[in-house]
C-alpha cells in the first residue's frame, strides 16, 4: 500500500518542533516532544489523558510558551506571545466546545473577531452584513449544510455541524495549520462521520491538520501519520502504511494491563 500521505514535497514543514520541554513549577508536562506537520496531511496526535496532548497544542496555538526546545513555522523560529500571534502565522485551533456561541447567528459566529467592515464612523465600524451573510451561506453549502437562513442561531445546528462550521471558518480565514482538539469526542456516529469527511476535504486544499483524539479508530479513518504521546514524550511518528490500528491502540495504552482489558472487552475500547 502506498502511503496516502503525499504531502507537498517542496518547502519546509508547516510546523516543526524539536525536543520541546514544558514545565509548570515542579510538574514536567512535556519532557522532549518532536513533531513535524506537512502541508496536506492529517497528522493525528494520540495519547491517553495526561500524556501531554493539551500542553503541546497549547504551545502550538500560542497559549503557553515552551520552557525549552525549538519551534519552527515554515522553517522560521517563532515565539508566540498570544493565540493572536499563532493565528497571524496561520495556525488556527478549533476547540472541542469553546468554538461557537449558540444564541448568536451563524453569520455572527462565522465572522466573530474578524467582522467585515463596510464603513467606519469614529470608533464604530459598521459590519457588511450582506457580504457576511452571503459568505456564510456559501461556505455552509460547501460543507453540505443547507442553511435556510444564515441569521439562524448556531444553537439550531447539530454538534457535528457546529464543528464543521468552526473548521470552515478557520479555513476561510486562511489557516495553514488546523489544530482540532478532540473534534469527535462529544459526537454520535453519524455526526462523527460528517466531521471526519470534512477533515479529509480540508486536507485536500493543502491545509495541514493536527487531529487530537484518544479514539484510535477515528484517527485511523482520516490520519496520514500518527504521533503517539506518553507521559510527556513522543513514542514515535508512523505513516499509515507502517502501522495497524491495534498496534496504535497498544502503544497508546502504553500499559499491558489496559491492553488485556481492552482485548477482554473485544477490542471495542
Amino acid at each position: 500500500m502506498t502511503p496516502q500521505a503525499a504531502p507537498a514535497a517542496a518547502g519546509p514543514p508547516l510546523i516543526e518542533v524539536r525536543d520541546l520541554v514544558k514545565t509548570f513549577g515542579p510538574v514536567v508536562a512535556l519532557a522532549g516532544v518532536s513533531l513535524t506537520v506537512l502541508a496536506g496531511e492529517v497528522h493525528c496526535l494520540l495519547g491517553d489523558n495526561g500524556a501531554g496532548k493539551s500542553t503541546l497544542i497549547k504551545i502550538l496555538s500560542g497559549v503557553h510558551r515552551p520552557t525549552a526546545g525549538d519551534f519552527l513555522v515554515e522553517g522560521a523560529r517563532v515565539d508566540f506571545a498570544s493565540p493572536r500571534d499563532a493565528l497571524d502565522r496561520g495556525i488556527a485551533t478549533v476547540y472541542q466546545d469553546l468554538a461557537m456561541i449558540p444564541l448568536l447567528s451563524i453569520t455572527r459566529n462565522f465572522f466573530m473577531g474578524r467582522e467585515p467592515v463596510r464603513q467606519r464612523l469614529g470608533p464604530f465600524s459598521f459590519m457588511d452584513t450582506a457580504h457576511a451573510d452571503r459568505v456564510a451561506r456559501e461556505e455552509m453549502r460547501r460543507i453540505g449544510i443547507d442553511v435556510r437562513d444564515p441569521q439562524q442561531a448556531v444553537g439550531t445546528l447539530s454538534g457535528g455541524e457546529r464543528q464543521c462550521v468552526a473548521i470552515a471558518r478557520a479555513v476561510y480565514f486562511g489557516a495553514k495549520v488546523l489544530i482540532l482538539d478532540e473534534p469527535t469526542s462529544a459526537l454520535g456516529v453519524a455526526q462523527t462521520s460528517v466531521v471526519l469527511k470534512f477533515v479529509r476535504q480540508v486536507r485536500q486544499k493543502g491545509v495541514g491538520v493536527i487531529f487530537i483524539t484518544h479514539n484510535v479508530r477515528h484517527a485511523y479513518a482520516v490520519g496520514d501519520r500518527f504521533t503517539v504521546l506518553n507521559r510527556g514524550r513522543t513514542l514515535g511518528t508512523f505513516a499509515k502504511s507502517e502501522i495497524k490500528v491495534d498496534q496504535l491502540q497498544t502503544m497508546m495504552a502504553g500499559d499491558k494491563e489496559l491492553q488485556e482489558l481492552s482485548d477482554e472487552l473485544g477490542g471495542t475500547v
Partner: protein, 370 residues
C-alpha cells in the same frame, strides 16, 4: 450542490416566508412589542376621559419613560454583554451631587461641574468594570458594593460640605447656561405654539401652550437609544457585545477583547446614570442624596421586559426602550385612572414574571430552531 440554491421559485419563496416569520418570532423584542400594544389598549379604555392621552398627559408619561429609557439602554447593553450594574441608582444620586456640590458649595461654573460629574462617573464605571474583569467576581456582588459605597458617599459628602442632604440653588447658578438648556430645556417650542394656535393642543390658564416643547430628557433618551441600537445591531462592537455575553471564553479564543468591551459598557451605564442625574438636577434645580433610589432595578426590569436574557448574549435595545415605555405608561396610567399606586408594583412584578417566562420560551425556540 447548486440544487439547494436554484430551486423552483415558488418553493424558494415559501421557504423565505417561513424563515421571515420564524425570524420575527425569535426576535428578542417581540414580547415587549406585544406588551406595549396591550398596555396602550388597556389604558386607552381604562383611562379614557382622564387626559392621559391629551398633550400634557402624553408629556407626563413620556417624560417618565424617557428618564427610564436613558438608563435602560445602558443596562440592556451591559446585560447583553453578560454583566449587571446595580450601582446605577446610587450613581444617579452621586452624579447629581457631583454637579450640585461644586456649583453651590465651591461656586464652580456650572458647566465645569457637569464635566466633572461626567468625568467622575466614567472613572467610577471604569473601576467597577476593572474590578469585575480582574477578579472574575460576579458583577452582581461588585456593583452591590458600589451601590452602598456611592449612596453612603452621596449622603456623607453633602452633609460634610453643606450640612444638609438636599443641595438647592443649582437653578440660579445655571440660569441661562448652555448645560441648563442641554439637560432641562425643550426643543420644538414653535411647533407646539403653532399647535396651540390651531387648537390641536390646549392652553394653560396663563395662555402658554399646555406643552412648551419636547423636554431634553426625551431627546437624550431617543439619541442614546438610537445610537445603542445601531451599535448593537450594525457594528463590530455590537457583535463583540453579543459574544462577550454569549460565551466570554469562546469570544476570547476568537480574538474578541472581552475585557475592554465589558469595561466600556460599565462606563456607559455610569454615563447614562449621569445624563439621568443631570436632567433631574437641572429640572428640579437641586440635588438630593436619595435620588435614583431603586432605579437600578427599574432599568434592569425594563431591559428584561424588553427581552434581554439575564444570562447575557441575547436581547435588544429597542426592546429595552419599549420596556421603559411600558413602565412609564403603566406608572402614570395608574395615577390617571385613580387606582391606588400600590397596584403599580403588583402589576410590575407580574409583568416581570411574565416577561422572564416568555424570554425563556423564546430562548429555547431560538436554540432549537422551531
Amino acid at each position: 450542490m447548486a440544487e439547494s440554491s436554484v430551486v423552483v421559485p415558488g418553493q424558494d419563496e415559501r421557504l423565505r416566508r417561513q424563515s421571515g416569520l420564524r425570524r420575527l418570532l425569535s426576535r428578542p423584542d417581540l414580547g415587549a412589542l406585544a406588551g406595549t400594544v396591550f398596555v396602550f389598549a388597556f389604558f386607552a379604555v381604562a383611562a379614557r376621559g382622564t387626559g392621559m392621552f391629551q398633550a400634557d398627559g402624553v408629556l407626563n408619561w413620556s417624560t417618565v419613560s424617557g428618564y427610564l429609557m436613558v438608563i435602560a439602554v445602558g443596562a440592556a447593553l451591559l446585560m447583553i454583554a453578560g454583566e449587571f450594574d446595580l450601582s446605577v441608582g446610587s450613581m444617579i444620586g452621586f452624579a447629581g451631587m457631583m454637579i450640585a456640590l461644586p456649583t453651590v458649595a465651591f461656586h464652580w461654573p456650572v458647566g465645569l461641574s457637569v464635566l466633572f460629574a461626567f468625568g467622575g462617573a466614567l472613572l467610577i464605571g471604569f473601576l467597577n468594570g476593572l474590578v469585575v474583569i480582574r477578579t472574575g467576581l460576579p458583577s452582581f456582588i461588585v456593583t452591590l458594593a458600589s451601590l452602598y459605597i456611592l449612596r453612603g458617599l452621596t449622603i456623607a459628602l453633602s452633609i460634610l460640605f453643606t450640612n444638609r442632604t438636599i443641595v438647592v440653588g443649582v437653578k440660579d447658578a445655571a440660569e441661562g447656561s448652555l448645560v441648563a438648556f442641554l439637560f432641562s430645556g425643550t426643543v420644538g417650542d414653535p411647533v407646539f405654539s403653532w399647535l396651540a394656535d390651531h387648537d390641536v393642543i390646549g392652553r394653560l390658564p396663563n395662555g402658554d401652550p399646555s406643552v412648551r416643547g419636547v423636554p431634553m430628557v426625551i431627546v437624550w433618551a431617543l439619541v442614546i437609544a438610537a445610537a445603542g441600537h445601531v451599535v448593537l445591531s450594525k457594528t463590530k462592537l455590537g457583535n463583540w457585545i453579543f459574544a462577550s455575553g454569549g460565551d466570554a471564553n469562546a469570544a476570547r479564543n476568537l480574538g474578541v477583547p472581552v475585557g475592554v468591551v465589558k469595561v466600556s459598557l460599565f462606563m456607559l451605564t455610569a454615563f447614562c446614570a449621569t445624563v439621568f442625574a443631570a436632567c433631574q438636577v437641572f429640572e428640579f434645580g437641586s440635588a438630593s442624596s436619595d435620588r435614583g433610589l431603586l432605579k437600578e432595578f427599574e432599568a434592569i426590569i425594563a431591559a428584561v421586559i424588553g427581552g434581554c436574557l439575564l444570562t447575557g448574549g441575547y436581547g435588544s435595545v429597542i426592546g429595552a426602550c419599549l420596556g421603559a415605555l411600558i413602565f412609564g405608561v403603566v406608572q402614570m396610567g395608574i395615577l390617571f385612572t385613580g387606582v391606588p399606586n400600590d397596584w403599580f408594583r403588583v402589576f410590575l412584578g407580574g409583568m416581570l414574571l411574565i416577561a422572564v417566562l416568555f424570554n425563556n420560551l423564546i430562548r429555547r425556540r431560538v436554540v432549537s430552531g422551531r
